[in-house]
Amino acid sequence: MSRRRIDWTVVALIAIAVVLTLTASAVPNWIRYLGQQAVATALASVGVMVLLRAGLLSFGQGLFYFIGGFAVALLDRYAGMSDAFVVVLVSAASAGVLAAILGGFLAKYRGIFFSMLTLAVSMVMFGIAIKIRLFGGSDGLNVGLMSYVGYRPRGPDGQWFSFVFCVWTWTVFAMATHFFLGSRFGRLIQAVADNEVRVEFLGYSVRRVVWAAYVVAGILAGVGGAMAAISARHVDAQFAYWTTAGDFIFVVLLSGQASVVSPAVGAFALETLRSYASALFPDQWQLVFGGIMLAIVLFLPAGLDRLIVLAWRGTRNIRLRRGRLSTLESRP
């Protein structure tokens, strides 16, 4: 049996999840809540990242975030279903089905057409949601406590359970996305961004690749929305608003696209920034948000994880040079 290379992304994902699970009871409630929001945002941002690898910028991922969140709320309210595993799967499925339908139409488009059409679709959903009673209008809906395979924890225990559940959901879906991106079909996504005509000449359907990327991104955003609903226990029409999708774009821009783990860093930074921003500068949130985005676009367009890659390369060069020097010195 040949020795397989260790997949550091998988190792990192599992290590993060294990460490967070073990330390969860030691950190205060509000940090756990922050972490939950962060993994929800991070998973949706992974979807944005997948699309961005195909060269497509979606301003409409809020739509699937909305679908995922409201799937949880509506199941809880009308079907009495509050099992976390079931609601997450239903959210993923409903977001996936909607993405599959919309994707058939959107996969024809590229560049700004794609961006603005996704934006338009999610703004239509927002327009419907604030008018229709089923979705609670602009007030939104409350979500009850979740149960986990029949066990319904209460009080502080419930918060711990939902945190650990969200972290592991993030791990599982991020890992699945990682394997998808590493597969032959997943690698075509990058190829589409580089040169579509060549992909067609190689015998693959560009439309199917874009469609698949869109469906994957939709499912991820749907699961993200479900996790946001489970952790905040409230959903509203704002989920479908374009600023929600803007958050995901911000996260990907901040953290870069090196791996599926990257958005977690950006998402945690975003949630921390947001919770301090509401205290420090409540009315200038967009100004700060936009300012940071502009700064990144202008000075570090590859994202913060580029810094890590550069630092890694830098130290490797130093190590290599040292190694070479020592071999030179050891020569007779």
Partner: protein
């Protein structure tokens, strides 16, 4: 019969507004090849400047014409200035970068400008309806319409003709067209390409601000008005074909008509009418009705 005339007049009024909002966006796209999300912010900046200009002229005791002229000039100046700063400080560094990155930059610009206007003028709604009230009403087909709204149709036609004339019949306009076709060859022929891009962006921003200023007397000017505008303007521009002025005019007429028909006959679907038209057009003509020629990359 009354319904028909109401539909037509409403469609004309709405189309005029749509064209005013969309023309700057399509102009900037045509020359710079970037979709400027910050256009929505230029619109709201223009609206605020318009409100202040009208307020100042009213307190000076000037007449309606001066109020409107002051609003238009002040908004164009403000839009041009912000456009200058945005192009010089941000966009000029990003030409040639991947499209998503440029789109993100204009989105960030939108956020910054939107909050900056809120910071300057507060979160409450402002009103400047004096010019519209003073101009009175006119009866068309048995229904009363504000003269101001009808006059905007003429204004938007004047803007359309001016932009068309400027692009097709002046030296500067021909330089712009040359840059659109091939900026490298234009540069080799001695055209100052960066200056053409800057000027086009400034004109586009000024047109966006002008649209805001002319809309200000009709609405409550408040935060968050720029978002809808960018989506609607994009719909108009896409239906007509991105980057084409006559396309924007065509798109404005089609969408204005669609909205006015649905408002009068089937009000339930009014919210979607714009998007339905856009989806229908794009399903058959993926690049709009009058698209500029495209080069295929091999």
């Amino acid at each position: 019969m009354a319904t028909l005339s109401a539909i037509l007049v409403d469609a004309a009024v709405f189309s005029a507004w749509l064209f005013l909002v969309a023309v700057g966006l399509t102009l900037v796209f045509g020359v710079l090849r970037l979709l400027n999300i910050a256009h929505g912010a230029f619109y709201s900046v223009g609206a605020y400047v318009g409100v202040y200009a009208i307020g100042a002229s009213v307190s000076m005791g000037w007449g309606t014409a001066v109020q409107l002229a002051a609003a238009a000039v002040a908004a164009c100046a403000a839009g041009g200035l912000i456009g200058f700063l945005a192009e010089r400080c941000v966009l000029t560094r990003l030409y040639g970068h991947p499209e998503p990155l440029v789109l993100i930059a204009t989105y960030a610009l939108f956020l910054v400008l939107d909050d900056a206007t809120k910071l300057v003028s507060g979160a409450q709604s402002l009103y400047a309806s004096q010019p519209r009230d003073n101009l009175g009403q006119i009866a068309i087909g048995g229904l009363q319409y504000p003269v101001y709204d009808i006059a905007l149709i003429a204004v938007s036609l004047i803007v359309a003709i001016t932009v068309w004339y400027g692009l097709n019949r002046t030296r500067a306009g021909r330089c712009v067209t040359a840059v659109v076709f091939d900026s490298e060859i234009s540069a080799a022929m001695g055209i100052n390409v960066p200056r053409i891009k800057l000027a086009t962006f400034m004109v586009g921003a000024a047109l966006g601000a002008l649209a805001g200023a002319l809309t200000a007397p009709k609405i409550a000017v408040g935060p968050g008005m720029g978002v809808e505008v960018i989506v609607i303007a994009f719909a108009v521009v896409v239906v007509g074909g991105l980057g084409s002025i006559s396309g924007a005019l065509l798109g404005a007429v089609i969408i204005g008509l669609a909205r006015s028909v649905t408002v009068h006959l089937i009000p339930e679907v009014e919210v979607f009418s714009i998007y339905l038209v856009m989806a229908a057009v794009l399903a058959f003509r993926p690049f709009g009705l009058l698209p500029p020629a495209q080069v295929r990359r091999i």
